[in-house]
Amino acid sequence: MSDSNLSDNSRDIIIDVDLHRRTSELADENLSLLDEHGVTAMDVLGSVGSGKTTLIGQIVRRLRDRLSIAVIAGDITTRIDADRIEREGVPVIQIQTGGACHLDGELVRRGLERLDLDAVDLLIVENVGNLICPAAFPVGSHRRVVLLSVTEGPYMAVKHPIMVRQADVAGINKIDLADAMEVDVAKLAEDVRSVHPEIEVVATNARAGEGIDEVIAALGLSGANSGSDGPTENEGRDA
């Protein structure tokens, strides 16, 4: 090694890396890994309590006979959510976000390492309940569902333009409570489309299982067989 001294021969290195860019790189790496193993991935975004875990449980129940499914749960609210989905008979990888309010590519990557990806057809990621971070922190998925609940009030969609724009499918959940909340579901659907015209909007009652088939269709997963048929082009009915 060179002769040692503490003389001030320091230099500055300009980095200028925005963490947002770094996180999208990580997400892209996750996507390539998933593609290599033939895994289709979707993630579900939405506020705490909007019904993400309930929706995932319903989707799993309908697809588990045709597809081998794994779930990555990043919800801050502990094991309980993971157990609810595990009861549907699919592996759930719980990711500790360590106080963080979002999942990011790095954490999801660690989750992927714990799965036998060759044995998985469909990966469902429940993102933690936060509406700022997930929009800026992609995890690496092919399809994204944003779940809005009518209990969050009539201006939900217009208030989250970024999140809505990044999603392929918007679920308007808890429609059974729409009247009580004095929320017009059709108007909410219209708002969502005004922010993102290409998005598929589906009205759901995740608890009772209404609208789930439509969500599955909008995700292009209707009639998907592990192997033979592949996802259909069928793009579901609208709300």
């Binding site: 320091s10 947002h20 360590g98 790095e106 309940g129 936060n130």
Partner: protein
């Protein structure tokens, strides 16, 4: 509250750069932190220090410049800084900035959403081996 994840990524970026540049020590780390990230600068510094323990950047001075939210209003054309409330509730629900002039919430964000590792100062000098 996503300060931990942000700190981990900053640490990884710093250490990767130091390694690529074959630096012996990292003396200073400069970060720009936008108000819209909702990350608390002190928390970020704390977690970053944890993440750099025992590495070449263990003793680095951490400098965090806090960047205000700057936006342009699409309805009244107001352009300027907008205060972001320091309230943890915005980790569970969205903070929607509104125009201080007309109250509209259709704003174009010009700055303040970033979390950038700007630069690091490294030195190539070896510390005299005390063995």
């Amino acid at each position: 509250m996503h300060d931990v994840a942000a700190a981990q990524q900053i640490a990884a970026t710093v250490l990767q750069t130091a390694n690529e540049q074959e630096a012996e020590l990292v003396r200073r780390i400069e970060i720009a932190l936008g108000a819209m990230t909702m990350i608390d600068a002190e928390q970020l510094e704390f977690w970053l220090k944890q993440g750099l323990r025992g590495t070449v950047a263990d003793d680095a001075t951490i400098v965090i410049e806090q960047m205000p939210l700057r936006a342009r209003c699409r309805s009244c054309k107001y352009e300027g800084e907008i205060e972001v409330p320091d309230d943890p509730i915005y980790h569970l629900m969205p903070f929607v900035p509104t125009c201080p002039e007309c109250g509209a919430d259709q704003l174009e964000v010009l700055g303040g959403a970033e979390c950038v590792v700007r630069s690091i100062r490294v030195s190539d000098a070896e510390i005299a081996d005390e063995a």
